[in-house]
Assembly symmetry: C2
Homo-oligomer: 225 residues x 2
């Protein structure tokens, strides 16, 4: 029985990693659809990847509840299942946010090419790194890596502030860019929220491995919007 | 033992309701701080209410895990505890969003009074209703009420779209209002996200009572940002 349960937990973790891989793909494609103005790449996020992410969330949650009910896990295993319940939710939200970015591609293509944002590719890279690192930390039970994710979130927030200032400045000088500028602001906000959810995953990894709830201690998630 | 567990679940629910009451207060105060330009009301959300909400989330999650570990709940009780784990997270996020709104008060006070938004009070009222109704549905196991919350979310989204159009129009005509307009857009976005989290709570109530996972079926949470 005990052996079997260990295998079930390992299998669950593998499937969370698979869901995480889909989520990484969604973020990667939506960002590159935006940078390369590629509508079909954006469409693949909206029509193919996000529905699969949603289905995976429902399945994984059911499996978590089944394991909780049948196996009466204790201590670290219980924390793992509780963490997975939260992590699947965060991953699904990242999928939603990637869809938001993908949807912005259509709006931006309908307008003249907006002024490129110097800091945007860097912000996208840091955000993608956070998602990847949070998942790696989960896979390897790597608390040190999880803590690096928490620190990197501050960097992403600073980049967002810089991007916002840049866009607002430009909107004031050139009012005909207000709508495009807002689309860019929304994209930056979505990236920032993806980084927040990656932070949540990292916090759940720390909670799972160390039994310490670091939410509300290391980090303040409140942003401007 | 069984009797004791029933009491523990009831006690947990009462404390979720208490947390919900704090969250309602946070939303109410932040909205009214904004409408009445009342900095001290905004400060009370930031300094007093939100930290208490955070502390309640950590406590309630711990109690949930303890009950999961010690009581080996099945079926409806297991679903209840899984729902509470998610609901406390949604309530805590609503607290964060109320803080975001409260923080906007300071920025708006530093500038000339912005043009009042006709639809804003209505959007705030509908959002507050959703939070209250989702909590009532939880308290009374009222699935019909929970479904009304899901429907009302579409109304809030439509109000947000109207507010966005109104502000963007004005920003284009009067570029010196860009920053104030953006603050108003962020506030409307925060309200909309509060409504989304109330929707999540309502979905969890349906899941708890009926065992049906309605996420990704009735409703699409993806918004513009």
């Amino acid at each position: 029985m005990r052996k079997h349960f260990v295998e079930e937990l390992e299998d669950l973790k593998q499937r969370v990693m698979y869901m995480g891989g889909m989520v990484e793909t969604a973020v990667h494609r939506s960002v590159h659809a935006l940078i390369d103005r590629d509508q079909s790449l954006a469409d693949s996020v909206i029509r193919e990847i996000e529905p699969e992410i949603n289905a995976l969330e429902l399945q994984l949650d059911q499996d978590c509840l089944r394991l909780l009910a049948l196996q009466q896990p204790m201590a670290v295993d219980l924390r793992f299942l509780a963490a997975v319940l939260r992590i699947t939710n965060d991953l699904e939200r990242i999928g939603d946010l990637a869809v938001n970015i993908a949807q912005a591609v259509g709006r931006l293509l309908a307008n003249p090419t907006p002024r490129p944002l110097v800091d945007f590719p860097l912000m996208a890279e840091r955000t993608k790194w956070m998602v990847r690192a949070a998942l790696d930390a989960l896979f390897r039970r790597d608390v040190a890596l999880a803590r690096q994710v928490l620190i990197t979130d501050d960097e992403v927030d600073a980049l967002r502030d810089q991007i916002f200032r840049d866009i607002i400045q430009h909107m004031i000088q050139a009012p005909d860019t207000v709508e495009r500028g807002l689309s860019q602001i929304f994209v930056a906000r979505n990236l920032e929220r993806i980084a927040d959810h990656a932070t949540n995953v990292a916090e759940d990894v720390i909670f799972w491995v160390e039994g310490v709830d670091v939410r509300h201690h290391t980090h303040d998630h409140a942003g401007q919007s």
